[in-house]
Symmetry: C2
Subunit: 322 residues, 2 copies
């Protein structure tokens, strides 16, 4: 009898979910719309039906051992999504409580996307056996999951690990959070777009980006241009890496990780992101830590990484019980 955990990745547009074993193998996956269900009860019912349908398609004996969920603004302690700007449900949504009605006999656990990514890294990825590490997720914003003593740092109110909102420049770029100079205004898919536009303003060189509007520009286009040798794109990555490298050097002085994993779209730029990040991280590192902390790509990056990360919450809970 194969044990399977359900991983659910709740995003603003869609919710992806799948069945995962303890080695990170997926047995079926599916997607429902998130946005189409402003009625949360209806959404949960739809999600339950989707999961049941996946389970029915299995052609082997299995035991369902739990449901792990990754979601923006998730409160791990309370099992709620709280005031998530990009979701259709407003206020505080009792996700775990509602889903537990459909899965009353197994653990239902929810955390935010970046913490789920960190647990995924620990269970299936490059952080196996590590007790102290950091995962940085580079998407529209910058998320982070900090692990110390083998446990996610949730903090007193479950909202720890907001490295994207460490202020790196008090007179810097306006952030969606209402403050100025947060790391994610520089280091994220949106951040590097802003950097490209800053460079277009500062310089006079021609560039393929001069014919593209801010709304049309994507981080993938900047990565592609860097890979093709475009100087402005490379400079944008250099600047991004400087800001990230400095912030990581500061983070290292606080939690002294064994490794830092970069996860998500921007990390796909490979050396264009990793080389400047590593360079500036070591340049600004306190000497005790210099050349000791590994900077690595995520070991589970890929299309199903978010589902894997969410399902890993269940395997981790099981490990703790051993």
């Amino acid at each position: 009898m194969r044990k399977l955990a359900i991983g659910v990745d709740i995003g603003g547009t869609n919710t992806a979910f799948g069945l995962v074993d303890d080695l990170g193998n997926m047995y079926g996956e599916s997607v429902i719309s998130t946005r189409q269900y402003p009625d949360f009860d209806q959404y949960i019912e739809e999600l339950y039906i989707g999961i049941q349908s996946l389970l029915k398609q299995l052609d082997f004996e299995h035991e369902l051992i739990g449901v792990g969920i990754g979601a923006p603004n998730a409160n791990y302690y309370r099992g709620t999504i709280e005031n998530a700007a990009n979701l259709v449900w407003k206020g505080v949504v009792p996700v775990v409580e509602k889903l537990k009605r459909f899965f009353p006999t197994v653990p239902v656990i929810m955390t935010n996307d970046a913490n789920a990514a960190a647990v995924g890294e620990m269970i299936y990825g490059g952080a196996k056996g590590m007790k102290d590490f950091i995962v940085i997720t580079l998407g529209t914003g910058l998320g982070s999951g900090f692990v110390a003593n083998g446990e996610i740092i949730y903090g007193h109110d479950s909202f720890a690990g907001e490295l994207g909102h460490v202020i790196v420049n008090h007179t810097g770029r306006v952030c969606g959070c209402g403050r100025k100079g947060c790391l994610e205004t520089y280091v994220s898919a949106t951040g590097i777009k802003r950097t490209v536009f800053k460079l277009l303003a500062d310089h006079i060189e021609n560039s393929e980006f001069r014919s593209i509007s801010f709304n049309d520009l994507t981080a993938e286009m900047i990565t592609k241009a860097a890979l093709a040798g475009d100087p402005l794109a490379i400079e944008a990555f250099e600047y991004t890496g400087m800001l990230l490298g400095r912030a990581l050097a500061n983070a290292v002085t606080i939690t002294s990780p064994e490794a830092i994993f970069l996860f998500g779209g921007l990390a796909k730029a490979g050396k264009y992101l990793f080389e400047p990040t590593k360079k500036y991280m070591e340049m600004h590192m306190l000497s005790n830590f210099r050349n000791k902390v590994k900077l690595l790509p995520s070991g589970i990056d890929g299309k199903n990484a978010a589902i894997l990360g969410a399902s890993a919450l269940i395997w981790q809970r099981l490990n703790e019980g051993r």
Copy 2:
């Protein structure tokens, strides 16, 4: 039979030690010179003799349950002091191994001063029952102990919690660590002296500090002047509080503590330090955390705090065993 732990505080000049029960009551304390014993074996022997002498003076039945040590540059995992600039012993000193020869049947545990202060806060002080908090020690430098999930964050190599070496200004003040703009170059007894001298340079107003050399100036004198209403001293505290408050707001985004405790000499300035620190911390706080994190004076501050903190390592170990 009363259970007692030994707390040992190794400082550059002296080593203070005492016998402490589980409520933080001291039963005898003593001091030996640190500096007079460049021969480490001789130092350990002297320390052992001192402890024995304290134990002999007890007039009640007792059981010795362990030796806790706080020391600069202490490696918790290895039980060593490593390359401590202010101690007479150079290189890596195997403190725990050597002391264990004299106390073979009980745990001997060592950590750095700031972590010992944090454990002390958790066992005897204001952090009783808290799982997530930060202790900031304001002495010649700035030390910090981070607690998450009820445990000190030691990190991969045991040197986590160096908030004093977070860089807050990349073009800022030269730090003893060889870099620029570390928090402790602003926020510490030495840091506030530097701030006073910066203000004397920037302004033309008369001040009692104009007749005092840098070497003669102490943080206590600045505190005293602030309490007496001296505008330059008050401005120096305002500036110190701004730098500390901003750094704490950033630290909160990472570990989301329930409370932050300020410990040590500078914290004695009371509202002159706490008010600006609190003001700038909240001003720069990510909205989730605003007005939620307590900023408190240490609950065990005082002359024996370092001994208490060190002894608390033993009570904490005992608690974990329960």
